[in-house]
C-alpha cells in the first residue's frame, strides 16, 4: 500500500502536497533533482512522458520540463532556483507556458528524515489569493485538467478502435 497523500490549501495563497517515502532523504532529493530520475516519475497522467527535462541545480540556475503525449499534445513549464540546501530544501519559481496559474508561482520542497523514512512537503505559493483561487476555479479546469480530459477522451477512442 502506498503512503497516503495529503493535498491541502494553506493560508491565502498556498497549496501543500505532503507524502512520506520509505527511503533515505539523500535518495529522495536525488529523485527530485537529477534529470535521469525525474524523467522516470514526474510524468503526470498515463500516456505522458518527458520530451525535455533539464535541471541546472544551482542558485540562479534554471529548470525546464516539457511533457508530451502519444498524440503530440505538449505541455511545458520552467523556473529558476532561488535556494538550494541539499538534501533538505529547494525553493524555485515556476510558470507553465500557457500561463493558467495567473503568473509565476514559488515552489518550496522540504525533505525531512526520521527512522529511515523521508517526508516530502511541496508547497506552491501563487502570486496572490486571487491567483490561487483562479487556479482552482479556472486554471485547473481549463489548463491542466482540460489537457488530461483531452487525453482521457483520446485513450477512450484508442481503446474503442
Amino acid at each position: 500500500m502506498p503512503y497516503p497523500l495529503t493535498i491541502t490549501r494553506k493560508g491565502d495563497r498556498d497549496i501543500e502536497i505532503f507524502r512520506v517515502f520509505d527511503a533515505l532523504r539523500g535518495r529522495v532529493f536525488d529523485c527530485w533533482t537529477k534529470p535521469e530520475f525525474v524523467r522516470r516519475w514526474l510524468t503526470g497522467p498515463p500516456g505522458w512522458s518527458f520530451q525535455v527535462c533539464e535541471i541546472d541545480l544551482r542558485v540562479g540556475g534554471k529548470f525546464r520540463y516539457v511533457w508530451r503525449n502519444a498524440k503530440g499534445a505538449q505541455m511545458g513549464m520552467g523556473g529558476t532556483y532561488l535556494e538550494i540546501v541539499a538534501p533538505e530544501r529547494i525553493v524555485n519559481t515556476e510558470l507553465f507556458d500557457e500561463d493558467w496559474t495567473g503568473g509565476e508561482a514559488v515552489g518550496t520542497l522540504v525533505l525531512t528524515e526520521a527512522n529511515g523514512q523521508t517526508t516530502s512537503t511541496y508547497t506552491v505559493r501563487y502570486s496572490s489569493q486571487e491567483a490561487r483561487e483562479n487556479v482552482l476555479k479556472t486554471g485547473m479546469e481549463q489548463g491542466m485538467v482540460a489537457s488530461y480530459d483531452r487525453l482521457e477522451t483520446m485513450l477512450d477512442e484508442v481503446n474503442a478502435s
Binding site: P2, R19, A23, W41, G44, K137
Partner: protein, 118 residues
C-alpha cells in the same frame, strides 16, 4: 449561475476563515444566527453578512417559515469545488507511486553493490 460562476462564488465564499468555521459548525447540525454568532467575537449583523455570502454561493440554505430561520449546510457546491482537487490528487498519487518504485529500485541497487563489496 453558470457552472464557472457558481464555482467562483463557492471559492470566494470559502476563502474566508470565519465562513469556513461557520460551515464546520453547520456540518454538525443546523443552527440559528444567534447560535452561530456565539462562538465568534462578532455581532449578529456581521455574522448575517457572512451567511448571505454563503447563501448566495449555495453553501447554506435557510428555512423560510420557522421564526428562528435555522441555517443548514448544502453539500453539493462543496463536492463540485473538490472535484478539481480529486483530479490533481490522482496525478500526484500516480507520480509518487512511480517515485516509490524508483526509490525501491535505487535501494536494491545500492544493497546489491554493498553486498558485492563485502
Amino acid at each position: 449561475m453558470k457552472p464557472a460562476e457558481r464555482l467562483n462564488a463557492t471559492f470566494a465564499a470559502l476563502a474566508d476563515p470565519t465562513r469556513r468555521a461557520i460551515l464546520t459548525r453547520l456540518a454538525a447540525g443546523e443552527a440559528s444566527v444567534m447560535e452561530l454568532a456565539k462562538p465568534f467575537a462578532m455581532s449578529q449583523p456581521a455574522i448575517s453578512k457572512h451567511l448571505r455570502v454563503l447563501e448566495r454561493a449555495g453553501l447554506i440554505s435557510r428555512s423560510r417559515d420557522a421564526q428562528r430561520r435555522p441555517c443548514r449546510i448544502e453539500i453539493k457546491p462543496l463536492v463540485e469545488a473538490d472535484r478539481w482537487l480529486e483530479r490533481y490528487r490522482r496525478i500526484w498519487e500516480a507520480n509518487f507511486e512511480r517515485l516509490d518504485e524508483l526509490l525501491d529500485e535505487l535501494k536494491n541497487e545500492a544493497d546489491a553493490s554493498e553486498a558485492r563489496q563485502s
